[in-house]
Symmetry: C2
Subunit: 179 residues, 2 copies
DNA sequence: CAGGACATGTAAAATGTTACATGATTCT
DNA sequence: AGAATCATGTAACATTTTACATGTCCTG
């Protein structure tokens, strides 16, 4: 149930409305913990019912501004320090790799080449984002930059691996052609 | 709906029962596409209803052996070559990084150290698995080894990143202590 | 003949996605 | 006045997890 903790974490930095939070999900957290509008509003309602957050202001157009409550902050800290991370690790991309033997080697290579290109593109985007992000000193920005560096390294790894894997398939094809 | 494709992919290598497939999910695919017993049996039923797989033999204890049908093989190839991979990328681990500012720097460092250790452990396990895996030449083994190499590189990346991030926090603490 | 491995299934609950629905306010 | 943005919510559907339920076969 990490959506709950994502919301608590964001509200820990200051009060916000569902709409505000949604924008953060679509930008900063898009690659870490995507969430839809339905989910955010529903979970905020549940958090308020449970007393982990409170509506601290109402604005125009029915806007409700939420703030984290002490119990919410306690729950957040508990999750951060005492709950073991679940490594779900579901990868569509990697699943396909297992079954690439079902298509022609040329198609398998093309798949890996596309993967390398996608990773290279993501790397460029993140590098640009890294440059654009001002050197703010608040915690969320500091730790956000650590996460961004993770993304850079992940995509570099993926690109290098895909290049390597493509070469492995080429070698195997060469061997298969003249045994 | 990749569970469906995972099953088709495994059956493409040869007929198997739900029980057999489940074992593969808990070993080879555990880190790529985990699936529970409920899911596997239910999805096999749906695949059979849809005609993508067929029951080719019945054994003791109600054992049903499934084989991939031509339409199933076509669906698998279509998914491999024409369906864009969805990068859901939900990471509990990384989500926490964003919110590490909510706990003491020492606790944040401890979190990253645990992460580095977990990655190092996974690296060792995969390296051992890599040695244990015989150098079979069939497609599933070949591409499985490519996926295994991905895991090795991923964990190495994660370990190095966590070490780096821990040092960054140390530096920041040092700066904060004497401004 | 007992215990473990084999083997399949159903049901309920939690979580996530997509689509639908509505309306207010601000800016040009 | 019209368009864009702000702002919240519900409903239906799909997927995943956890728990329950049942029975057979093989080995020591």
């Amino acid at each position: 149930m990490s959506l709950r903790h994502a919301l608590l974490g964001l509200l820990a930095a200051g009060p916000a409305s569902g709409y505000d939070l949604l924008k953060i999900f679509n930008v900063s957290l898009a690659n870490v913990w995507p969430a839809t509008q339905s989910q955010v509003y529903a979970e905020l309602g549940r958090l308020a019912d449970a007393g982990l957050v409170e509506v601290v202001a109402e604005g125009p157009r029915g806007r409700k501004e939420y703030a984290i409550a002490d119990t919410g902050r306690a729950e957040l800290r508990h999750w951060l320090t005492e709950v073991a991370p679940t490594r779900s690790g579901r990868s569509d991309t990697l699943l396909r790799v297992f079954f690439l033997g079902q298509v022609e080697p040329g198609q398998a290579r093309a798949y890996l080449r596309r993967l390398a290109e996608t990773a290279a593109g993501a790397e460029r985007d993140l590098a640009a984002l890294s440059d654009a992000v001002s050197a703010e000193e608040d915690d969320l920005a500091f730790y956000g930059r650590l996460a961004l560096e993770w993304g850079l390294r992940f995509n570099a790894m993926q690109r290098e691996w895909a290049d390597w894997a493509e070469r492995r398939i080429e070698e195997r094809e060469a061997v298969a052609r003249r045994p």
